[in-house]
Symmetry: C2
Subunit: 95 residues, 2 copies
Protein backbone atom coordinates (compact mmCIF):
# COMPACT_ATOMS: atom_id res chain seq x y z
CA UNK A 1 0.00 0.00 0.00
CA UNK A 2 1.06 3.56 -0.65
CA UNK A 3 0.01 6.57 1.43
CA UNK A 4 -0.13 10.03 -0.10
CA UNK A 5 -0.13 13.26 1.86
CA UNK A 6 -1.06 16.19 -0.38
CA UNK A 7 -1.06 19.65 1.17
CA UNK A 8 -2.52 22.80 -0.34
CA UNK A 9 -3.47 26.35 0.56
CA UNK A 10 -6.44 28.32 -0.70
CA UNK A 11 -6.21 31.87 -1.98
CA UNK A 12 -7.88 34.45 0.23
CA UNK A 13 -11.66 34.06 0.09
CA UNK A 14 -11.56 30.83 -1.97
CA UNK A 15 -11.39 28.22 0.82
CA UNK A 16 -15.12 27.39 0.70
CA UNK A 17 -15.02 26.65 -3.02
CA UNK A 18 -11.96 24.46 -2.51
CA UNK A 19 -13.68 22.52 0.29
CA UNK A 20 -16.69 21.87 -1.94
CA UNK A 21 -14.58 20.66 -4.87
CA UNK A 22 -12.49 18.49 -2.54
CA UNK A 23 -15.63 16.92 -1.09
CA UNK A 24 -16.74 15.85 -4.56
CA UNK A 25 -13.26 14.48 -5.29
CA UNK A 26 -13.29 12.48 -2.04
CA UNK A 27 -16.67 10.91 -2.88
CA UNK A 28 -15.60 9.84 -6.37
CA UNK A 29 -12.12 8.68 -5.37
CA UNK A 30 -13.40 6.40 -2.60
CA UNK A 31 -15.38 4.51 -5.22
CA UNK A 32 -12.24 3.53 -7.14
CA UNK A 33 -11.34 -0.14 -6.87
CA UNK A 34 -7.71 0.67 -6.03
CA UNK A 35 -8.52 3.15 -3.26
CA UNK A 36 -8.22 2.13 0.38
CA UNK A 37 -9.10 5.49 1.94
CA UNK A 38 -9.33 9.11 0.83
CA UNK A 39 -9.85 11.85 3.39
CA UNK A 40 -9.69 15.63 3.37
CA UNK A 41 -8.64 17.73 6.37
CA UNK A 42 -8.54 21.35 7.45
CA UNK A 43 -5.46 22.62 9.28
CA UNK A 44 -6.60 23.48 12.80
CA UNK A 45 -4.25 26.46 12.96
CA UNK A 46 -4.85 28.02 9.52
CA UNK A 47 -8.28 28.05 7.83
CA UNK A 48 -6.63 28.41 4.40
CA UNK A 49 -4.56 25.22 4.67
CA UNK A 50 -5.82 21.74 3.79
CA UNK A 51 -4.45 18.23 3.48
CA UNK A 52 -5.53 15.08 1.70
CA UNK A 53 -4.49 11.77 3.25
CA UNK A 54 -4.97 8.99 0.73
CA UNK A 55 -4.17 5.28 0.85
CA UNK A 56 -3.87 3.28 -2.39
CA UNK A 57 -3.38 -0.41 -3.08
CA UNK A 58 -0.38 0.18 -5.35
CA UNK A 59 1.21 2.54 -7.87
CA UNK A 60 -1.11 1.31 -10.62
CA UNK A 61 -4.09 2.48 -8.54
CA UNK A 62 -2.50 5.93 -8.21
CA UNK A 63 -1.78 6.10 -11.94
CA UNK A 64 -5.39 5.13 -12.64
CA UNK A 65 -6.66 7.77 -10.18
CA UNK A 66 -4.53 10.51 -11.72
CA UNK A 67 -6.14 9.82 -15.10
CA UNK A 68 -9.77 9.77 -13.90
CA UNK A 69 -12.16 12.50 -15.04
CA UNK A 70 -12.93 13.38 -11.38
CA UNK A 71 -9.25 13.95 -10.54
CA UNK A 72 -8.50 15.77 -13.77
CA UNK A 73 -11.61 17.89 -13.28
CA UNK A 74 -10.56 18.73 -9.72
CA UNK A 75 -7.10 19.81 -10.87
CA UNK A 76 -8.63 22.03 -13.54
CA UNK A 77 -11.26 23.62 -11.30
CA UNK A 78 -9.22 23.84 -8.09
CA UNK A 79 -6.01 25.05 -9.72
CA UNK A 80 -7.07 28.73 -9.72
CA UNK A 81 -8.10 28.45 -6.05
CA UNK A 82 -4.66 27.32 -4.82
CA UNK A 83 -2.35 29.89 -3.26
CA UNK A 84 0.67 27.82 -4.29
CA UNK A 85 1.64 24.47 -5.75
CA UNK A 86 0.15 21.28 -4.30
CA UNK A 87 2.78 19.63 -2.05
CA UNK A 88 2.49 15.90 -2.70
CA UNK A 89 4.58 13.16 -1.03
CA UNK A 90 4.28 9.37 -1.16
CA UNK A 91 4.93 7.20 1.87
CA UNK A 92 5.22 3.56 2.80
CA UNK A 93 4.14 2.50 6.27
CA UNK A 94 6.96 1.27 8.51
CA UNK A 95 5.08 0.66 11.76
CA UNK B 1 -11.25 13.52 16.62
CA UNK B 2 -7.99 15.28 15.85
CA UNK B 3 -5.44 14.12 13.28
CA UNK B 4 -1.77 15.01 13.68
CA UNK B 5 0.77 14.91 10.89
CA UNK B 6 4.31 15.17 12.28
CA UNK B 7 7.18 15.22 9.80
CA UNK B 8 10.85 14.80 10.58
CA UNK B 9 14.19 14.18 8.91
CA UNK B 10 17.07 12.07 10.20
CA UNK B 11 20.67 13.24 10.25
CA UNK B 12 22.94 11.38 7.84
CA UNK B 13 23.50 7.83 9.03
CA UNK B 14 20.95 8.05 11.87
CA UNK B 15 17.78 6.95 10.07
CA UNK B 16 17.88 3.37 11.36
CA UNK B 17 18.10 4.49 14.98
CA UNK B 18 15.20 6.85 14.41
CA UNK B 19 13.08 4.10 12.86
CA UNK B 20 13.73 1.85 15.85
CA UNK B 21 12.82 4.54 18.39
CA UNK B 22 9.72 5.45 16.41
CA UNK B 23 8.63 1.80 16.32
CA UNK B 24 8.74 1.67 20.12
CA UNK B 25 6.81 4.95 20.33
CA UNK B 26 4.13 3.61 17.97
CA UNK B 27 3.66 0.45 20.05
CA UNK B 28 3.27 2.36 23.32
CA UNK B 29 1.12 5.13 21.90
CA UNK B 30 -1.41 2.73 20.37
CA UNK B 31 -2.08 1.39 23.85
CA UNK B 32 -3.25 4.77 25.14
CA UNK B 33 -6.98 4.96 25.79
CA UNK B 34 -7.30 8.23 23.86
CA UNK B 35 -5.47 7.02 20.77
CA UNK B 36 -7.41 6.02 17.65
CA UNK B 37 -4.43 5.24 15.41
CA UNK B 38 -0.70 5.94 15.38
CA UNK B 39 1.38 5.09 12.31
CA UNK B 40 4.90 5.84 11.13
CA UNK B 41 5.87 6.23 7.49
CA UNK B 42 8.97 6.55 5.35
CA UNK B 43 9.00 9.08 2.52
CA UNK B 44 9.19 7.06 -0.69
CA UNK B 45 11.39 9.69 -2.33
CA UNK B 46 13.86 10.41 0.50
CA UNK B 47 15.11 7.71 2.90
CA UNK B 48 15.92 10.35 5.54
CA UNK B 49 12.36 11.72 5.73
CA UNK B 50 9.61 10.29 7.93
CA UNK B 51 6.07 11.11 8.94
CA UNK B 52 3.80 10.17 11.80
CA UNK B 53 0.07 10.15 11.14
CA UNK B 54 -1.82 10.05 14.42
CA UNK B 55 -5.52 10.17 15.26
CA UNK B 56 -6.65 11.15 18.76
CA UNK B 57 -10.07 11.24 20.41
CA UNK B 58 -9.67 14.84 21.57
CA UNK B 59 -7.20 17.47 22.76
CA UNK B 60 -7.12 15.93 26.24
CA UNK B 61 -5.83 12.69 24.71
CA UNK B 62 -3.05 14.61 22.95
CA UNK B 63 -2.13 16.45 26.16
CA UNK B 64 -2.01 13.12 28.00
CA UNK B 65 0.16 11.59 25.24
CA UNK B 66 2.61 14.49 25.30
CA UNK B 67 3.18 13.90 29.01
CA UNK B 68 3.69 10.12 28.83
CA UNK B 69 7.11 8.64 29.62
CA UNK B 70 7.22 6.94 26.20
CA UNK B 71 6.66 10.22 24.35
CA UNK B 72 9.01 12.21 26.57
CA UNK B 73 11.62 9.46 26.24
CA UNK B 74 11.28 9.50 22.46
CA UNK B 75 11.75 13.26 22.32
CA UNK B 76 14.86 13.00 24.47
CA UNK B 77 16.44 10.09 22.60
CA UNK B 78 15.34 11.04 19.06
CA UNK B 79 16.15 14.74 19.41
CA UNK B 80 19.85 14.32 18.53
CA UNK B 81 18.91 12.19 15.49
CA UNK B 82 16.72 14.86 13.85
CA UNK B 83 18.21 16.96 11.05
CA UNK B 84 15.80 19.78 11.89
CA UNK B 85 12.79 20.61 14.02
CA UNK B 86 9.78 18.28 14.03
CA UNK B 87 7.06 19.81 11.81
CA UNK B 88 3.77 19.17 13.62
CA UNK B 89 0.30 20.19 12.40
CA UNK B 90 -3.16 19.37 13.75
CA UNK B 91 -6.10 18.71 11.46
CA UNK B 92 -9.82 18.15 11.63
CA UNK B 93 -11.43 15.91 9.05
CA UNK B 94 -13.81 17.66 6.66
CA UNK B 95 -14.73 14.80 4.34
Amino acid sequence: MITIIARCSARAGRAEELVQLAGNLVDSSRKEEGNVSYDFYADAADPAKFTFIEVWKDQAAIDFHNATPHFQGFVEKAGPLFAGPLDVALYRKLS
